[in-house]
Structure formats: C-alpha cells, structure tokens
Amino acid sequence: MSFSIQGIGAATPLGPTGLETWSGLCRGQQAPRTRFTNSLADRSYFVCRVPGKFVADAARQPRLRRSGTISLLGAAAGFDAFADAGLKPDSGLSARMAVVFAICSGGVNYTRRFYHEIVTQGANSASPLLFPETVYNAAASHLAALLGIDGQSYTLVGDSSVGLGAIHFATELLTIQPQLDRCLVVGTEEADWLLADAFASWRIATNRDQFEVYGRSGGTIFGEGAAAVLIGRTGPLAIAGSSPGLPFRSFRESESAARESFGNLRAEGLPEIIVSSANGTFADEVERKVFSEYYPAVPVYALKPAVGEALGASALLQVAVAGLALRHQQLPGTLAVGSKLPSVNRKTRSISAYQALVTSVGFNHQVNALKLCLTQSPY
C-alpha cells in the first residue's frame, strides 16, 4: 500500500502558512528572537514566537475562543494543509478522514498557570476554565470538531521526533481502515518560559540569542509553531519509508539507533537531500556521524537555526520543508552552521532531487527517519 502527502501546511515564526514559511527559509530569513522573562526567576531566554496575527483566523473560531496557543497553531496549520491540497473541509471529506496529532510538552502555558494557582493560592482557587486545555489531546479535539470528524482522532506524545512517528501511525490507520481516504497529521507546540528554563537546567536549551548546528553544542533556542501534512492514497509526493522510531538510552545507543533507523532507508536508493533535526545539542553529533558514514555527499539542510526547536512540531515541519523542497526543486541554506559537517547546504540553491530523507534525533527517547519520494518529474 502506498501513501502520499497531498497537502502541506504550517504556521511558524516565519509565516502564517507553509508556503510563506518556505519563502522565508529560501530567502535566508531568521525568525526574530523574543526575550522571555518571568518573575519566578531572574533567568531569561530567547524564543522564536509565532505572531498572534498569524493565527488570527483560527482564533475567530468560536470553539477556540478559550483555547491555548497550541490549539490555535494546530488549527491554522491543519486548515493550511487542506488549502494547499486544493480542498475545503466539509462533511463529505471528514466522514472518511482521521486526525493524528504529535505533541511534546502540550499546553504548557495553561498548565503552568493552573498549577501556579494551586501552589500560590490554594487548590480551591484553581480555575476550571484552564484545566481542560491542559489535556494533551485538547488540540486534536478542537481540530476534529472544526473539521466535523466523528471517527478516529489520536494524539501521540513523545520528544522532538514524535512527528515522524505520527506520520507512521497515520499510515497504519490508512492501511487498517480502507474506508479512510485521508489522514491529517499535525504537529504543534507552544513556547513558554517554563519550558525554556526547564530544558536549560537539563542543558538542552541555551540562554543566548543564537545557536549553531554541527558545531559547538551549546544548547538550542525554542520555537513554537505547527506543521501539518494531509496524507492520502494518491499523489506525486509519496511516503517511501516510515517507522515508529527506535528508542535509545545513551549517547552511544543513540548512534546505533540512528545508524539503524537512517540506514534502513538506504535500500530503496540514496536520497538527494536530507532535512535534519540538528538543533545545537548532542543530536547534531549523532546525525553528523551517521550522515558522514552513510550519506557523505548528500546535502543536508537544518531548519532549526531559522525557526527554533519547536519540539512536537519540529519533525512535521521538517517533513513539510522536505516536501516543499522536492516540489519546488530548491533547498534553503542552513543558517548558523559550524564546521563539523561539510555536506551542510549553506546557501539556497536549485536542486534536482526525487528523494528526501527526513531525520530526527529526539532529546530523550527516540530516533526516527522518513523518506519522501517524488513519483512524477517536477519539471
């Protein structure tokens, strides 16, 4: 059974749609860094935020009037994927469609606010308006409601690789359920000072306003955003390989897992481009070693220096960019690159590519890879 990406959507710090994000990446834009401060501590962090105007349409939906940013972003990206596919969500489509969400930290803003009320004012003061939006599947529920889906709605949780696992999960649903025509896969994440502070204490996040990939691993900058792909049974952008991912426990194990995960997809031909998950952490070194061994001449693009590490949305955004790169036969230049991986693509350029590999090394759980393949000539 084969599956294809029929529509690509996004809402990122660089644009309210996938195409505008793509244009920004190709122009070498870097999302503005907003300084995050909090009265809880005198530590500040930089983050790539999505301007409110980018999700204004979603925020006008009555269902989303009290929802968190994570749900607004997910809805915006989901509707954009429909538009990109030339489809309008309606009951005819939704009856034969499933929704799969990929989340990492979830509605952390509402969660922090809710728990802050418990700790500082007492449990009897905690707002019942906040609690429902803290639930991991709130974003999926909202989008399912907006699309009128009464069937399958799933939320997968994991680290920054979870988006690739969600796409694989969607292909499983489409295999199991022949009555489904499509599955909308959405990765979404919102930023919060608490998240940055927590990950800084774990040495994953930096408090600087820049980070470089494939260089000195000094930690990442968080971003927020969402990306979505509408997966169907036909179309020119095929999913040539996917998996639920592989777990790892240590740096050494992450390398062997990456070797297995990325290497498994070599059998069907070498990719012409790689869209990597490099984010200025240990993950860069894992990818560098495997790319140098298996794909030494394949140009690598890392988008996180431009938009930040958006956790649950990251891998979906990588897939969106890989799809758009194949569609437009163009590969953006990676910003802020160190010297450790010579094959990194540094300037936006035209390519002649049919296959793209998307890789992800998550920060504490899984590695995963996915291959996209153009089944028709782009010319």
């Binding site: 802050h116 009897n124 599947n137 927590a198 774990w202 040495r203 639920p244």
Partner: protein
Amino acid sequence: MWIMQGIDRPNRVLVTGLGVISPLGSDASANLRSLLDGQDSVAPVTSFDVTKTRCKTAGQIPDAWLKNGLPTGRVADRLHRGARMAALALREACQSAGGANPELMVIGTTGGGMSYGELFYRRLLTTRSRKGFAKLVGNYTPQKPIQDALELNQLRIPTQILTNACSSGSNAIGHGFELIRHGLRTCVVCGGYEPLCELVFVGFDSLQAATAEKIRPFDKNRTGLVLGEGAAFLILESEKSAAQRGAVALAEMVGYGVSTDTYHLTQPHPSGIGPRLAMQRALESGDMEAAGIDYVNAHGTATIFNDATEGAAISDVCGQVPVSSTKSMMGHSLGAAGAIEAAFCVLALREQFLPPNINFLEPDPTWKFEVVSNHSRAARVNHVLSNSIGFGGTNATLILRRV
C-alpha cells in the same frame, strides 16, 4: 463484513500475557481476589495536600508494592512512580506470556511523570538552587517512565504513546489489536499507565467532577468520581505466532471501535452518540450482535454527565445486559483505565464471573440494563465489552471473547 474491511481472513488476535498493578492488587491474582471480594480500595490521599479540595480520596498503590524486585540505590532514586508501575505490570505480562517477543509497544497515559513537573515548579518557587532539576526534567515526560520500564525488562522496541485522555489505554490496546489483525505485526505489548498527581486531581476537583463521597457509578444519586492509578499490559499475538511457540491464550480480542464526540471538550453529547457509535463500531468490527455481549465493563465514572450518556448508549445498544464499573472499587485511573479494565475483562472471562459495581444504593430507572450491584457473582461469560470515554470526546470500545 471482513470483505468490507478489505481483508478476506483477518488474523485472530489472542491475549497471551497479562500484567496489572492497581490499588486492588500488585499483580493479576491479587486484583482477581479483590474483584471477587468487591474490595473498596479508595482511601484518603497521602501524596499531596488535599485540605483545600472538595474530594479528599483516591485509589492509591501502596509504595511498598512498587519496590518489588526493582533496583535500589541511584537508579531507584530517579525512577518515577509511573515507571515502577509500568515496569512491574510489564514484567508480569511478559512472564505470563512465557517467551513472547513483542515487536512494538503501544501505550496510553494522560499525565506521564507529571508529579516530577510539579516538584520542579514548587522548587522553582522556593529555592534559587537548581540542584536536582535536571533529574526532574529528564524524567517527567510521558515517554521516560516507559523507557525505564522497557529497560528494566530488557526490552528495546519501538513505542507509540497515545494520549487520548481517558480512552488512551483502550485506544492503545485497540490499535495493537488492529495491527495484528491486519498482519502488520505479529506480537504487540499494549496497555496504559497512570500515576496519581496533584495537578490532575485538582483539575477534576475544580470541574466539580470529583466527589467528596463514595464513588457510586450508575447510582441514581451519584455525585462524581474519585481518581485512581495503576498500570496494565496485555500481550497481543496472532494466533499463528502463539501456536508456533505453544503459548496459552488467555482470551481473544475480537472488536475495537472508536468515535470522536465533538460536542464539547469536557462534556459528552447528551444523546450518548459518542459511546453509542464506539460500541456499534466495535460490534461491527467483531462481526457480532449486541445480544452476544454477556457483560459490559462500563467507563462508569459516576459523574452526572458520563453515566447519563453512557447509560443511555448501553441501554440503546446492549439492552438488558449486566453492567458494572470497576472504578467503584479503585477510582478512575485515566490513561490506564482502559487497559486495567481490559485486564479485568480477561480475568472475568477466565474465571467466569461478573465484577461488582460497589457502593451502589439506588438504581436509576432511566436505563434498561442491570447493574451488578455490590457483589461479584458467577456467570457464564463468553463475550465482554469494555468502554472508555475521555476528554476531547474520545470514545473507545473493546470486545473480548473467552477461549
């Protein structure tokens, strides 16, 4: 029916292993005894302050149970309570399956290691030192306790973690079932885990869904839920795989149905359309009639809304079937509930009894079905149906058969 689903002869899916830890017992046999006895394991909350909440009780697993054969020392210090539950239930499931080789884990949860996140936040408010923060951050994510449970059981397999609120555990089992039935996998370990945490406890209290009284599912005068915790795993395996290694089947999984009720984030549609669709779809999936169901293990949270809508749906779909909510004995374990209740269903099929719905005082005349009130009883049980209903409108139904 099978042809409609695109497969001529689907694989039979057998339950060949079972592990469960809950407030009712530290393993399957202890849980069985408690189910037969109709034990009430709900007790005052001890792990956080409940002086300002309306509800002050929950079903909790004693700490002593969570040390059984698990490492001590530095490794033990970092293990989240959820990791311990999951590790113990997984160990029992693998042992009872006797040499099964699961290729994949599908697991549900809603909070994961949330209590570590709570501790992180409290320390953030009270101290400038960051000592110990990394441990809390590194272990609070829902995937980390599962990583630990896998490692403690010497398993290194891909994992799909579903967070479909309170239907997560059933969704995990249902998805594993479908993967095997359609030949995508031969052996999957699936289940759920959920440790009790303050944030979620207060959340339900703030919504006035939690009760200050006893939890009385399907009682006319029910007043709400109490929370619980636990973990359960089923080893699901294709008939062929089980036969090849001479495994003993504990039960057969025959049906799975899901629906999404988009009425409201936390309230079900009053008509009961959500659970009704899930049950109908599970019956269709199992190619069977509702009349063939001998027992319904209901979601039965004892909230006004849940029981009203689920009760209406069960009445409509299954009529005069015996129904109980085992949450009456141990509280609602959220993302683990569907898995724990599926394990209870396997025990009911194996031992031929109906688990009780305790604390039951007065029937609600609205419904046609019979509540298995207060005491378990022996019965001929060939097919059981288990419902799970969650925030976000997720509904999942599993059907299991005696072998």
